[in-house]
Amino acid sequence: MTIHLLRGLALGLVLIALRASAASVAWSYQADVATFYQVVADGAGGCGIIAILTNGSMSALHLDSKGEEIYRYQLAASSYGILAVSKKSMVFSEIGVPPYRLIYADTKGQTILVSSPGYNLLNTMMPILRSTLFDKKGFFANEMPIAPGQPKLVRYLNK
């Protein structure tokens, strides 16, 4: 019996090792986005986004693991980017008339404007919008049309 178990275990390991390496499209998102400036995976299959919209304004967005938009905030003017994003909330910078502030928002639509009197609040002193394009199950791609057109964000799964 022990030998059979070991054989079964070995077979299972071989099958796992031989499992096809692949990437499949789970969903894509376009809406009214003209440019995806920053994409930060939330660790649960979704992501936070700082985007320029087709009307020229800038917004912070949160998409869930199905590509559904679960949060949208129109920024006053600009942003130094997303500081943190999780399945339930995100923190991002808003640049406008001083004092600059951070926005703490959850996916239930609650928003807190974080400010500190006398100071501009920034996530970083350099306007570098770092993206994190992967999580344990897949990755995101910022897909630009070769011909003139609108970009889309595509979610790929590692399977």
Binding site: Y104, D106, S116, G118, L121, M125, I128
Partner: protein, 161 residues
């Protein structure tokens, strides 16, 4: 405790969790002579290490605990920033005459110089844009406070409560 009591307790805990306040507040801030904060690395214990420039042009490395108290500060001629920060140690670059070195600092403040001559030890060749950043932990985040009137830049700790 029987099953019903356990279920009631579980329901109460769930209700309490759902009703937890959605909030954020500034817990503390740090810095009297900071001109710039280039890099922030959360240490995972509520504190962080920072790399910045002081108002007199020196590079500064500071390791702050969860209350904002400095566990370690060092003003040096130049640096390529932090390579690592954890509950137990930080590692940062120190640039003097070649070879450039890393300094390992444990949570008691003991320094160990790491060198690998004839190589210069660097964090990233893309400075400062290539510096690693980690401004988040499970209880909050760190941000930079830039004074609107002339004054010193500060590092601030915000917690979700």
């Amino acid at each position: 405790m029987n099953t019903i009591h356990m279920l009631v307790l579980a329901a109460m805990l769930a209700a309490f969790a759902n009703g937890a306040a959605f909030a954020v507040s500034e817990a503390w801030s740090y810095g009297d002579d900071l001109a710039t904060v280039y890099q922030i690395l959360a240490d995972g214990a509520g504190g962080c290490a920072i790399f910045g420039i002081t108002t007199n042009g020196q590079s500064i490395i500071a390791w702050l605990d969860k209350k904002g108290t400095a566990l370690y500060t060092k003003r040096i001629a130049s640096s390529y920033g932090l390579a690592a920060a954890s509950k137990k140690a930080i590692v940062y670059s120190s640039i003097t005459a070649p070879p450039y070195v890393f300094i390992h600092v444990d949570n008691k403040g003991a320094e160990t110089t790491i060198t690998d001559a004839p190589y210069n030890l660097m964090t990233s060749l893309l400075f400062p844009t290539g510096l690693a950043q980690n401004q988040v932990d499970s209880k909050g985040f760190f941000a930079v406070k830039l004074p609107i009137a002339p004054g010193s830049v500060k590092l601030a700790r915000f917690t979700y409560k």
